[in-house]
Symmetry: C2
Subunit: 331 residues, 2 copies
C-alpha cells in the first residue's frame, strides 16, 4: 500500500551510508565491507526497497529487456520458440517484449520501432521473410539481432536453424521407400528455408533415379485450410505421399484425406515439418521432422546474451540437430 516509492536514497539514509554504497550492494559490487553490506541489506529489507529498472536503464543505458518479433504467437511453431527464448532470457535476468507483426511490413516496422524506442538491449527475430525495409531498420542501430528459425541469405546476421535441406532430403528418401509420386508442400519459395528444403527434396529424387516433377510442388501458406484444400488436388494427381513443411498444413491435409475415406498411411503417407504438439495429437499421429523449436529459441537467446555482452562469438550461423519422429502417418 505504501505508494511513496522508496529509493536508493532512503535505503542509504536508513543504513547510514551513501547512496553509492547502496548501489554497489544492489549491483553485487565486490568492493563493500561485509559489515556495511549487511547494514544495507537490512535497510533494503526493512524498507521493502525495490530497484527501479527504468531509472537504472536510463543511467546505465542497459534495460535488461529484449524484444521478440514474430508473425503471431498463436502459431505453435512460434510459441514454442518464444518459450525457449523466455526461459533463457529469464535465466539471464532479461525480460522479453513480444510483438506480433502478422508478417505485414508496415506493422513490423512500427513494432520494431517501438522496441528501439524502449531501448531494448537486443532483438530475436522470428519469421520466415524479412523485407528490405525491415532489414535496413534492424541494421540502422547497433542493437544485436539474432534470427531464430530463419536463414539469413547473406549470413550477416546471426541465426539459429536446423539443416532444412538435409531434413527434406531424409524425409523424402524415407517416403521413396514405398512411393513414387511424392508431393513437396511448402510455404513461399521466396523464403530461404523453403528453397533449402526444395533442394533436399530434389537431391533425394535424383538419388532414387526419379526426375523432378514441378506439378508435385505446392507452394502455399501456413494455414490448416490450405492443407484441407490440398487433398483434392493430391488425389487427382495420383500423388501417394507428401512432405509438408508446416504442421498445420499437414494436419489439414490429413484431415481432408481421412474425410475422403483415404487410409493413412496405407494409401497415403505424410511427413510434416516441425513436430509441434498437434502432430502427436492427431489420429493417426503425424510422422514429423522434430525441429528442436524450444532449443532454437533458447540457443538464440543465449547467443544474443553473448552479443549483448560483447563476448567473442566463434560461429554466428548455428545449426542444431533435428530428428525424425515416426508416428502413424508413415508405414
Amino acid at each position: 500500500m505504501e505508494e511513496s516509492t522508496t529509493t536508493i536514497y532512503d535505503v542509504a539514509r536508513v543504513a547510514g551510508v551513501s547512496m553509492a554504497t547502496v548501489s554497489r550492494v544492489v549491483n553485487g559490487n565486490a568492493n563493500v565491507k561485509e559489515k556495511t553490506r549487511q547494514k544495507v541489506l537490512d535497510a533494503i529489507e526493512e524498507l521493502d526497497y525495490r530497484p527501479n529498472a527504468v531509472a537504472r536503464g536510463l543511467a546505465s543505458k542497459r534495460t535488461t529487456t529484449v524484444g521478440g518479433v514474430l508473425p503471431t504467437i498463436t502459431l505453435p511453431y512460434f510459441a514454442e520458440i518464444a518459450r525457449g527464448i523466455d526461459d533463457i532470457a529469464s535465466m539471464y535476468q532479461y525480460n522479453v517484449i513480444l510483438v506480433n507483426s502478422d508478417g505485414e511490413e508496415e506493422k513490423e516496422l512500427k513494432v520494431i520501432e517501438s522496441l528501439f524506442s524502449k531501448q531494448v538491449d537486443g532483438i530475436v527475430y522470428m519469421g520466415s521473410f524479412m523485407t528490405e525495409k525491415v532489414r535496413k531498420q534492424l541494421q540502422s542501430t547497433r542493437t544485436p539481432i539474432v534470427l531464430a528459425g530463419m536463414i539469413d541469405v547473406d549470413k550477416r546476421m546471426s541465426s539459429v536453424n536446423i539443416d532444412y535441406r538435409l531434413a527434406a532430403h531424409q524425409t523424402t528418401s524415407e517416403l521413396l521407400q514405398n512411393n513414387k509420386r511424392i508431393a513437396f508442400v511448402s510455404g513461399s519459395l521466396e523464403e530461404a528455408e523453403n528453397t533449402e528444403r526444395m533442394v533436399g527434396y530434389q537431391e533425394a529424387l535424383e538419388e532414387a533415379g526419379l526426375k523432378f516433377d514441378e506439378s508435385l510442388v505446392f507452394e502455399g501458406n501456413y494455414s490448416f485450410e490450405n492443407g484441407l484444400a490440398l487433398a483434392e488436388q493430391m488425389l487427382s494427381k495420383k500423388i501417394d505421399a507428401a512432405i509438408v513443411s508446416y504442421d498445420t498444413v499437414a494436419v489439414g491435409l490429413l484431415n481432408a484425406l481421412l474425410a475422403k475415406g483415404v487410409k493413412v498411411p496405407e494409401d497415403f503417407e505424410i511427413i510434416s515439418g516441425s513436430n509441434s504438439p498437434i502432430t502427436a495429437y492427431m489420429y493417426p499421429g503425424l510422422t514429423s521432422v522434430n525441429q528442436p523449436l524450444y532449443d532454437i529459441g533458447a540457443v538464440s537467446m543465449r547467443l544474443l546474451t553473448k552479443l549483448m555482452h560483447k563476448e567473442e562469438i566463434e560461429e554466428n550461423q548455428l545449426i542444431l540437430a533435428h530428428q525424425i519422429i515416426n508416428r502413424g502417418s508413415t508405414k
Copy 2:
C-alpha cells in the same frame, strides 16, 4: 549507424527553440504555434530523432508497458488470449512483457517482481489459480490488474470471463439428449472456473431428472496424456459421453478412443471446453464451447487501459458471450 543518441536537446538546437517546446511537439501538446511546430518536426526529421521511452518513463512515471503473466505461452489457450492482449495493447501504444510462470508459485513471484521492477503500468494475469502469496504481491502496489479467463473469488480484482456455469449446463444438456452416463472432466476443482462448471453440470443432470454420480467426475491436469489415460477408465465405467474443460485433454481422449476402435460420435460423444484451433484440426472435429479467447484478451487489455488512465469503470466483472460450435464429435 549514427551511434551518438540524438536527444530532444539536439532537436531543440537545430530547430532554434527550447527543449520544452520540442517536448510539447513530440507529445502533441496543443499550445505550440503552427510555425514553430513545423520547425521542430523538420528538425526531428533531419536528425532522425527517436524519443527515448526509458527517459520518458522515468520522468513521467508511466512506461507504456504492461505485463502479461501466464503459465506458459505454448498452450494455445493462453497464446490466443495473449494475442488479443497484444493487439489492443499495441493499439493503445503499449508494449507487453510476457512472462511464463509454469504455474509455480516461486517462479511466479519472481517474474511478477521483475515486472514491478520494470515499472509496468498494469498487469494482465492469466491462469487458473492464484496463490495467496501471489495475490498479496499483486495487491501490494497500486498497479492495476486484470484477470483474463479467471474468476476472482472475492470479486475484488477486475476480470473478464465467460459464464462457465451456463456453458457447462448447456453442453451437458446437449449430451443428455442421447446419453445417460456423462463424464465431467475438468482441471482442479480448487479453481473457481471449474467449480462453476461443475455446478452447471449438476444443474443439467437435475433438470433431466438424473442423479449426480461422483464417480463420473474426473479431476486432472491440462495435458494430452491425461486425456489419453482417461479413455480406459471411461470405457470400463460404461460412460458414453463427456464434457471436457481443456481441449488438449479432449483431444487426448478422442485420440485414445479412436485407437481403441470406439466410434465417435456413434459410441461416444465429446464436447470440449474452449474451441482452440486444434479442436477443428481433429478428425472428427471436436464439438466445443467457443470461448472467445482472443476477445477475452482484448477486452481485458481494454479494461486495463481504462484502469491505468483512471477512467470510471461501470462493471469490473465482465462476462463475454460464448457459443457452442458443433462438429463431428457429437451427433
